[in-house]
């Protein structure tokens, strides 16, 4: 394609967008709204995935011991656990330390635990970290088989629950996103239809002069793509700004209290930009192709 043809397409499409200001704004607005919703779902899914991955890498096995074991026996158990294949480390947490940690985590409300020092209900435990989180079930079974073990827990259930949430999030978002995409495509195709109508005389003349199909269609196609792109750029801007402030707020307010942290801003921005720009272009080109096919029989 020649550069001046590109220039001609660009000029014509920008002119049309400007001429049908109201419809163009409506198109951009609808693309923006659809992409905002898509973007919010995307951010949620990304963060849940991020969290799941983080939890998975942090899988640790908690081994609660039977009460009242002697230091020698505890030492022997420790040696035995460390000897298992795949175990990276095994740290002993005494029940006094466990109570202290618990009380600290309660902060101002630590008075709730007052008086428990003499009759600590918690048990001594080991925190076992693994070289590979996938070994967790296997190591758990091996430890369970040892003597003097009360119970063994690892964060499997939480992980699975989280993955369930991601699944529903994905399916639910798919339905809403599909509806919003259809609406945007429809509105864009209507906008292009107006442009085709406004330029029908010119199109007729072009056909008699011998313009090729794609030359006639080019500006309309580009108009749709531009509308989609503008809508997606606005939505990316809004989402990025929103996420930036929310992430900062979460970090300032909750850091330390929760194990959870949000996905870093840079990473979210990258995924958002790539996928929403792609969505915008797809919506725009679909919309214009529909009206070109329907109203521009060249």
């Amino acid at each position: 394609m020649k550069i001046r043809t590109c220039k001609y397409f660009a000029k014509q499409s920008v002119k049309s967008i400007w001429r049908n200001k109201v419809m163009s704004l409506a198109s951009i607005g609808s693309v923006m709204a659809a992409l905002l919703v898509i973007g919010i779902f995307l951010i949620l899914v990304l963060n849940v995935d991020y969290l799941a991955a983080k939890l998975e890498s942090q899988v640790e096995i908690k081994v609660h011991l039977v009460d009242g074991l002697s230091d020698t026996i505890i030492g022997e158990i420790r040696k035995e656990i460390k000897g298992l294949s795949g175990v990276k480390d095994c740290v002993f947490v005494s029940k006094d330390k466990a109570l202290k940690d618990f009380s600290e985590s309660l902060g101002e409300n630590s008075y709730l635990l007052e008086g428990l020092e003499g009759d600590n209900p918690l048990s001594d435990s080991f925190v076992v970290t693994l070289e590979d989180p996938r070994l967790a079930p296997q190591v758990t079974l091996a430890i369970k088989a040892m003597s003097n073990i009360e119970n063994v827990v690892y964060g499997k259930e939480e992980l699975e629950k989280l993955l369930d949430v991601t699944y529903f999030l994905r399916v639910g978002s798919l339905v809403i996103v599909a509806i919003l995409l259809l609406i945007s495509v429809f509105i864009i195709s209507n906008t292009i239809k107006l442009t085709v109508y406004a330029r029908r005389r010119e199109i007729g003349i072009m056909k008699y002069i011998g313009a090729t199909d794609w030359f006639v269609r080019g500006p309309f196609f580009l108009e749709g793509v531009l509308l989609g792109l503008i809508g997606s750029i606005i939505s990316i801007g809004l989402l990025a700004t929103g996420y930036y402030y929310i992430a900062r707020y979460v970090e300032q307010q909750m850091f330390g209290l929760l194990v959870i942290s949000l996905m870093p801003f840079q990473e979210v921005l990258k995924s958002l930009t790539v996928s929403l720009l792609a969505f915008g272009v797809v919506i725009g080109s679909l919309g214009s192709m529909i009206s070109i096919r329907k109203f521009l029989k060249v």
């Binding site: 005389r201 003349i205 008699y208 011998g210 199909d213 030359f215």
Partner: protein
């Protein structure tokens, strides 16, 4: 060269627009196509431009069978056939110059070619001094000459004029005929469908008369007839 061999066209409503037509037009000829309204003149023009296809027969333009052209080849056929209509079909928001240049832009001519070619063609139709005016500022005859300029600016070998003087008073009609004659003298084949008896009689060119979808008469140096 234009050649129609046994061409028939029946429309979906059953109307037989053309019945077994045979016409041969050589390069550089000037041919009038006459006949009552609805006789098949417009159908013939649409067939030449491949707006419609015949039910039967072959249409050969410059050695190529138009009926066998693929859709994407149609633009290139039309670049070789200039067309003007009774209603001029100019773009009102463009100047005379821009209207003519537009025809070159849509076939992706270079700006250099456009700057060189447009003034030459405008002077050929006698509109050099009006190139910056808008169609609404021109007389009907002038507007039709702009549309003539647009039709030939890409150098087609054939020019089809569908009642080009139909909207014009006799004086301005003759201005247009002068331009058409000029274009024909430069070697372009001209095919003009018309009802203008006085023009046909005065020009003494070949006349093909169509009546009821058949060729009623084909005179080398004819008049309009009855």
């Amino acid at each position: 060269m234009i050649e129609l061999v046994n061409v028939s066209k029946t429309f979906s409503d059953g109307h037989k627009a053309l019945k077994n037509i045979n016409i041969k037009i050589d390069n550089g000829e000037f041919v009038f196509l006459v006949g009552p309204s609805g006789a098949g003149k417009s159908t013939l023009i649409k067939l030449l431009l491949k707006e419609i296809d015949p039910d039967q027969g072959n249409i050969i333009i410059n050695g190529k069978d138009v009926t066998k052209l693929k859709r994407r080849e149609i633009p290139y056929l039309r670049r070789n056939i200039g067309v003007v209509f009774q209603d001029f079909r100019l773009l009102q928001e463009k100047t005379v110059y821009e209207n003519v240049a537009f025809a070159m832009e849509v076939v992706e001519a270079s700006p250099k070619e456009i700057r060189r070619q447009v003034p030459i063609i405008l002077s050929l139709v006698g509109l050099s001094k009006k190139s910056n005016l808008y169609p609404s500022q021109l007389s009907g005859g002038e507007q039709q000459r702009v549309s003539l300029a647009r039709a030939i600016v890409n150098g087609p070998s054939i020019l089809i004029a569908d009642e080009p003087t139909g909207n014009l008073d006799p004086d301005t009609a003759w201005e247009v005929m002068k331009s058409l004659n000029e274009i024909n003298h430069r070697g372009t084949t001209v095919l003009m469908a018309t009802h203008a008896k006085d023009i046909v009689d005065a020009m003494r060119k070949r006349v093909i008369a169509i009546e009821n979808g058949t060729i009623a008469r084909d005179d080398k140096k004819g008049g309009y007839g009855i």
